[in-house]
């Protein structure tokens, strides 16, 4: 009985819904403020993402006549459920809901579900901008997913396990893996930007080209859920990277907690920096970057790791 209660509480609060929701809001704010300060602005107040979310869910939800109402309503819910589930299995400062051998694979797959939902949303809502955005998001999905998997496989190979917590503990014996696998970290970071559809890879929702891509016709609650999905996806993606590549554990719970948070925030600010520094790439460029740069780099990194492990 007590077990069930504990489980429910964990799912609801930590590391479940409330924690991830709050974390996503805070991290979104950090992202927006880091961009704003790099552009010489002040940026939004800390409660801004929450206010945006609340406002959107209280707005009218209208869809074009041609849209598939069922799909358009269920897709964001389904995508959101997937990222929240993924979040349960990614350790936060060493604490995790549950872990098993192979949870890394599950998390990666769950994190890629929203991309497909995003694509389907474009088709379900109709409208020419949405259709083009949907096509683009699928193309983008194929360009970043393979490098992301190959990059993530490196740490798993080193630790000899597909469990995130084992990989993290493996790093606490030596250095963080980013020193051994800087290329892998870089590839994973770039692929993560593609996953999150952030500048410079915000091609599926390029504002000046196709308005808002697959979300053009989405409004109200669905839009709020989509934004939340992408924000939680960012949070979990960053936590995943920190665990896999910057996973060194420090003695003392509080110190470890602060270090973990610091690393995650640093990665988020790094994403903001990249977003300010580069113009949007075109979709042809992105497939080039994905297959001609990221994939070879991640394979090279994997090779290096194999050699290192063979020598050790």
């Amino acid at each position: 009985m007590l077990d069930w209660l504990l489980l429910t509480l964990q799912m609801l609060f930590f590391p479940g819904l409330v924690f991830q929701f709050a974390g996503a809001m805070v991290f979104e704010w950090i992202y927006r403020v880091s961009i704003a300060s790099l552009e010489g602005r002040i940026g939004p107040p800390w409660y801004q993402p929450l206010m945006d979310f609340l406002k959107l869910i209280s707005k009218e939800d209208i869809l074009p006549k041609s849209a598939n109402r069922w799909a358009a309503t269920l897709l964001p819910v389904f995508s959101m459920a997937c990222v929240f589930t993924a979040g349960m299995y990614v350790p936060f400062a060493g604490t995790v809901f549950d872990s098993f051998e192979g949870d890394l694979v599950m998390v990666v797959i769950l994190l890629s579900v929203p991309s497909l939902g995003y694509f389907l949303n474009g088709w379900a809502t109709g409208g020419s901008y949405s259709l083009i955005g949907a096509n683009r998001s699928l193309l983008q999905y194929f360009s970043y997913e393979v490098p992301f998997l190959t990059a993530v496989a490196g740490p798993a190979f080193m630790a000899g396990s597909w469990s995130i917590i084992v990989i993290k503990d493996y790093q606490s014996q030596f250095l963080s893996l980013v020193f051994l696998a800087p290329l892998g970290f870089l590839v994973a970071l770039v692929a993560l930007i593609g996953k999150l559809k952030r500048n410079p890879f915000d091609i599926p929702k390029a504002k000046s080209e196709i308005v808002a891509g697959p979300l053009t016709e989405t409004s109200g609650e669905s839009l709020a859920l989509w934004h939340l999905t992408l924000q939680v996806q960012a949070l979990i993606g960053i936590f995943l990277l920190v665990n896999l590549f910057l996973g060194k554990v420090y003695p003392g719970a509080l110190v470890n907690f602060l270090f973990f948070l610091g690393k995650a925030v640093a990665v988020q600010i790094l994403l903001g920096l990249i977003s300010v520094g580069y113009a949007r790439t075109s979709i042809a460029n992105l497939t080039d970057i994905g297959w001609k740069v990221l994939v070879p780099l991640s394979l090279l990194q994997f090779l290096v790791l194999v050699i290192v492990k063979g020598l050790a």
Binding site: R41, I42, Y47, S219, G220
Partner: protein, 139 residues
């Protein structure tokens, strides 16, 4: 309680959509100027949206010409409620200097309901921001 929270959220996160219904562009560049670092209107949660479906406040500039009228109506219908319309510029309020031109219907209120008028030719960014804030405070 929830209602009050939602109302607060509406005040703190007004997303705007701009539409030039036939003006001289002067107000539009001042509007866009609001987003630059000197005014940085994102401080107040105001973002410019591209799709009418994401917007809360429609900011219209310019008098309505015969050709833009159907588009203005359609954009207004596409915005999910609660929605508000702010008219920026004298010519959007009444037709202004273009009132007697043959292709001009008059102010924005000839076509869609308007919540707040901001005269000025062109309006300064501070004035536009003040108008948005006034509109928000009325919610």
């Amino acid at each position: 309680m929830i209602q009050r929270l939602f109302r607060l959220a509406h005040k703190k996160s007004p997303w705007i959509l701009t539409y030039n219904a036939g003006g001289c562009n002067g107000c539009d560049i001042e509007l866009l100027g609001l987003f630059n670092p000197r005014y940085d209107i994102e401080r107040f949660g105001i973002l410019q949206q591209a799709s009418p479906r994401h917007a809360d406040i429609l900011i219209c500039t310019g008098p309505v010409t015969i050709k833009t009228r159907p588009y203005l109506e359609r954009i207004y219908e596409q915005i999910p409620s609660p929605k508000h319309v702010l008219v920026v510029g004298s010519c959007g309020c009444t037709g202004g200097i273009f009132k007697n031109a043959y292709n001009v219907l008059g102010g924005i209120d000839q076509v869609i309901p308007v919540d707040l008028y901001l005269p000025g030719c062109p309006c300064r960014p501070e004035a536009i921001f003040n108008a948005v804030q006034t509109l928000i405070d009325r919610l």
